[in-house]
Symmetry: C3
Amino acid sequence: MTRPITFLSDYGYGDEFAGVCRAVIARIAPDAQVIDLTHGVPRQAVRHGAIALAGALPFTPPGIHLAVVDPGVGSERRPVAVLVADDDRVLVGPDNGVLSLAIERLGGASRAVDLTDSPFRLESVSNTFHGRDLFAPVAAQLAGGGEIATAGDPIDPSSLVRLELPTPVVYPDHLVAHVLHIDGFGNAALNLPFAQAGRLLNIGAALMVEAGKADLRALCARAYADVEDKKAVVFEDSAGYIAIAVNGGSAAEQLGLADDDEVVLRPAEAAA
Amino acid sequence: MTRPITFLSDYGYGDEFAGVCRAVIARIAPDAQVIDLTHGVPRQAVRHGAIALAGALPFTPPGIHLAVVDPGVGSERRPVAVLVADDDRVLVGPDNGVLSLAIERLGGASRAVDLTDSPFRLESVSNTFHGRDLFAPVAAQLAGGGEIATAGDPIDPSSLVRLELPTPVVYPDHLVAHVLHIDGFGNAALNLPFAQAGRLLNIGAALMVEAGKADLRALCARAYADVEDKKAVVFEDSAGYIAIAVNGGSAAEQLGLADDDEVVLRPAEAAA
Amino acid sequence: MTRPITFLSDYGYGDEFAGVCRAVIARIAPDAQVIDLTHGVPRQAVRHGAIALAGALPFTPPGIHLAVVDPGVGSERRPVAVLVADDDRVLVGPDNGVLSLAIERLGGASRAVDLTDSPFRLESVSNTFHGRDLFAPVAAQLAGGGEIATAGDPIDPSSLVRLELPTPVVYPDHLVAHVLHIDGFGNAALNLPFAQAGRLLNIGAALMVEAGKADLRALCARAYADVEDKKAVVFEDSAGYIAIAVNGGSAAEQLGLADDDEVVLRPAEAAA
């Protein structure tokens, strides 16, 4: 039984890098189903890739999860494969944090190996394209039935690199959160689950959204469509987080937001 | 026998939305072949998506046809599945017109259901990502053998939203048509089949192309390659429509064209 | 046994062209695995597509290799299928050079056919979309077991169009090469294998990179990560060629490089 492989990277669509990795997988495990999550992670944006991967994996079939956002390729960062605690899933990629948020969400790492001298790698490993020469072949071998224990040298799971994100705080009359992710529509997700915001975020409430560069009056609602065109809305996004959108526009642009920026939400009355 | 699924959306390639929908399909119907038509429909461009879908489906295997361009997600627009008259195909998506041109081309709707309370949806349905939580699971269940009758509540097929496009007119000495679609090469397709243009469009004829913002002298020919570099050509495009191109350039840019803009074609002699 | 198909084109991701080709393949050869190498080759960039294809095919499973970058579609350029000498691979596409570098790398053409009147084409062939109407159906039939001899009319393999690229020269104290390819990261690959550069390119050596518009001091190293942020590096790229990169930046931009531009590498001492 060949297992499915999901594949996320920052290789983009202009070059053939992601396609070549898929070709390498097809040579080793011709029956493996490969599900491209996206190859459009901004170049070398480890944090962005980590968030996208952690949000996507709960919806994918368990299997092998290949993630390559790898600014340090060829340096001393370790290539790793990681078995998680909650499910029979193995994550494969560089040990630079890109796997870390997904690992946390899936119960933590129960086993990890360093792939540097993996017997599964291609005969010749380039210094710059470990996706093709190391990560894709390892993922394919694991999909075809290879054991993680035979894929590399065992390492202490607690030694894996972790991303540090800022911590949100909920006060009685306002909350302070941070930009987790801005999507292609210009919607900004914050690093606080909507369900933890308490009374402040009642559907129908008028809110002030305060960012460093601009403020915006918004309605707490279920979806963009609940507000008029060009109006701002605060809602629970598809991952369960607080998000800010402008119907038919870009909230991130209007608020001048970037990743990790602090955002304060408070009742619109209090701000008047 | 699992049926193939085609998938078209405006999710783009920068985010993992389309990939997550594919992952959801893979969990429910692991054997289903998914054919991505494109996820590059401009954001929220229902009309654009409808035209692309209608042009593509005659070339795809019959199966389940998932199309998500959904500016009204979370509002009262209905999610639907529609069986067409001409072929054993089921279209799945929002009832906002994105399916309507394909439905027309495939003989009209013979059966339709409202998916709002579909038993096939995921356990928890977000307000903003119906592609993942509702449309993809429904498509996967239908691909795996689920019956459209069990996918939702029956609705009157004549109640489905239809797109209204302008109407072209062929006069004895000229014709008035409208921009149906501008592709990535800057070629503009008009909303009139080439075969219906009559004597005006003889191969080799010199034409004036009159748009609101600019005119262009063009040759009626079989392909771009029949005119010199940077010269304009009027030809039958791959969908059978009249199209305007500039060899090695962008006709849409030179004529200042946008969707639905009126374009007049007449013999070049008459324009002198 | 259905054979795998790889697919490379300049159709881009905004339109449904590549998706429609995949749909046509799925109708004819439902079991064929299709591996998209990329559809992001710059529009009509035959040379770029040829280089990407030649670099990718050694990593793909042998099979049918569809490549469509076709500025002359509808003109007299021949559509062809080509069997190569080194491996059981058939390349399918326009005879405009896009296949030529891959054919050379795979031992040359041992057999070729002109597909103009191929019995495998769709019933109606448009003048502008041979990917859908001719190349994809031929590739699908060949993948499903069709013989190249039955796909079209035999032609002399030596008559196939070849791309001419400039010739690099290695001198005792410097080398002159040319830009083969600039990738999405702004890394520039030169048309000389790293292994042929001789003593000049010792790991750790300080180099001057001289382009027409700017010079850059660089370190000869194994990977980007071996130099500080924003510093230039000369290294062996993943295809085995000499490449120039700026860690965290764009070498192509800083040097003002374009395809085929001449680049001189010499020891930094000699330049002082």
